[in-house]
């Protein structure tokens, strides 16, 4: 019983970080129909920038901020140079283009930071007793922080002018333009936001599992699954899906090895595509 509760906590923690990655991805997809194959690599880059900054300044929070900002800028640059020319082309092309980007980013990371893994020290030290385990405070802190960022995004989309612009452009790009909304700018900003959130996840995740140059692939794969299960473009759905899938995986790893537990998320994806392809957490049409 205690094991199940512990896994619940684990699942929630992992789910929140995954939700942070996935919400960026689904936001990007919703507004410009781009499936960003390189999204996980943005997580990875953020983690590396974060690790380097922590080593230089000793502050985790500065590292988090600088990683988010750097990768946001980088993401905007990427969008403008590589993805903007592809607007309107078939999805095949954008998948291939972002795949190419992913390749370059991974190899660049090796070139820039070397092949060895990096570590980021936990900013919140110490543990508390959770049943029979010593559970790190940081895990809760990371989940909480991820939640705060997502909450901030939600408020931004609801209230801020630019948030309304983003929502309008997502619903009808043509009409948004006709209303004077600078859609090219909105696209770049959304990509930057998605990249920033990915980078933040990378830094938050760093103390939990280290920073390696190929950590991106796992994130990309998981984020894809979450986005599809949650409903492409559906922000709330992807958050719920992230938590749902992470919980299932956490429970599964009580029975099988963690390496095998990932199959759970794959199975969920396939079932979703078979029976509810628009997404498990999408409200059914009235």
């Amino acid at each position: 019983m205690e094991q199940i509760l512990i896994q619940t906590v684990n699942g929630l923690v992992n789910g929140m970080i995954l939700a942070l990655v996935a919400s960026g991805l689904t936001l990007i997809f919703g507004i410009m129909d781009v499936v960003n194959f390189a999204h996980g690599d943005l997580v990875m880059l953020g983690a590396f920038v974060g690790a380097t900054t922590v080593a230089a300044t000793g502050s985790f929070w500065i590292a988090l901020l600088s990683a988010a900002l750097t990768i946001a800028l980088f993401g905007a640059l990427l969008q403008v140079t590589t993805l903007r020319p592809l607007l309107g082309r078939d999805p095949l092309t954008t998948i291939l283009a972002t795949f190419g980007m992913s390749l370059v980013l991974q190899k660049y990371a090796i070139w820039q930071w070397g092949p060895t893994a990096r570590a980021i020290r936990e900013p919140i030290p110490g543990q508390f007793t959770l049943f029979y385990l010593q559970y790190p405070w940081y895990r809760l802190g990371a989940a909480l922080f991820a939640g705060l960022i997502i909450g901030g995004l939600y408020l931004f989309l609801r209230r801020a002018t630019f948030g309304v612009w983003i929502r309008a452009t997502t619903q009808d790009r043509i009409m948004a333009q006709a209303m004077g909304i600078p859609v090219p700018l909105v696209h770049a900003v959304v990509f930057a936001i998605g990249a920033a959130m990915a980078a933040a996840s990378g830094v938050l995740f760093g103390p939990l599992a280290g920073v390696t140059h190929n950590m991106g692939f796992d994130f990309t794969l998981r984020a894809f699954i979450v986005v599809v299960v949650g409903g492409m473009g559906n922000l709330g759905g992807s958050i719920l899906a992230a938590i749902f899938i992470s919980l299932l995986e956490a429970y599964a790893s009580l029975i099988v090895t963690p390496a095998q537990a990932v199959i759970v998320s794959f199975v969920v994806l396939i079932l979703t595509l078979l029976f509810r392809p628009t997404g498990l957490f999408v409200p059914t049409a009235r």
């Binding site: 929502r167 309008a168 004077g180 090219p184």
Partner: protein, 236 residues
């Protein structure tokens, strides 16, 4: 002259839709554009708005060439578009829909409030449904919203694409009144319509289009006397 199209040719992929359209709208004028389905009336408006790029010819607005510039810049210059299918932002509230036209540079909160008040005066039903999602409005209400939204841009010309399509007669006369009210405010209107009587009533001049080119133009008064021309081109 506030808007002028000069020999505009526009393609949709390989289809040659506009074959050299030339027309003019003067400041504050209501100009009608009549024609059968598919002759290119909507494409004409889209060419002005920059939603499709003319391959030949030019579009001039207030003396400035705007051919092919991005739509969001055209809107900023003072051209508003009310599309045929209304295209209300379904998942935004009525207020948020209007906001997309209000959130511009150089508009302070006071003016925003004044503009909103005006919209709700013109369209009281929208005021009642301020916080309702755009997609939950009826067809007629969505049309009102689309027009009100365009008005938030404080445009000097509004491109109205078939505003009365699919509406009940009572709504049609409401639209008629809105057009008149806008005209009183000095806003020019390029009105694309299939509803001939409405167009002849509301416009001062009318162009008749056939197969992507202007075939005839005349003052509305003249056409009202001589319906034969209308019958000839529109088979009405």
């Amino acid at each position: 002259m506030i808007l002028r199209l000069d020999n505009v040719h526009t393609y949709y992929g390989k289809s040659h839709i506009l074959h050299g359209v030339t027309l003019e709208v003067n400041p504050g004028e209501v100009v009608g554009l009549l024609g059968r389905n598919g002759v290119g009336k909507s494409t004409t408006l889209k060419s002005v708005m920059g939603l499709v790029r003319p391959s030949e010819g030019s579009v001039t607005f207030e003396g400035q060439t705007i051919t092919g510039i991005p739509p969001h810049r055209v809107a900023k210059l003072g051209v508003a578009w009310v599309p045929e299918d209304r295209r209300v932002f379904k998942l935004l509230t009525v207020a948020e829909n209007l906001r997309t036209g209000l959130d511009r540079a150089g508009v302070d909160d006071g003016r925003k409030r004044a503009l909103l008040e005006r919209a709700f005066t013109y369209f009281p039903r929208l005021g009642e449904r301020k916080n309702q999602l755009g997609g939950t409005l009826s067809g007629g209400e969505q049309q009102m919203l689309a027009i009100a939204r365009a008005m938030m841009l404080e445009p000097r010309i509004i491109l109205l694409d078939e505003p009365t399509e699919g509406l009940m007669p009572r709504m049609v006369s409401e639209i008629r009144q809105i057009i008149e009210a806008l005209h009183q405010e000095g806003v020019a209107i390029l009105l694309v319509e299939q509803n001939v009587p409405l167009t002849l009533e509301a416009s001062s001049r009318v162009y008749i289009m056939e197969k992507g080119i202007i075939r005839h133009q005349a003052p509305a008064a003249e056409l009202r006397q001589n319906m034969a021309v209308i019958h000839e081109y529109l088979g009405v």
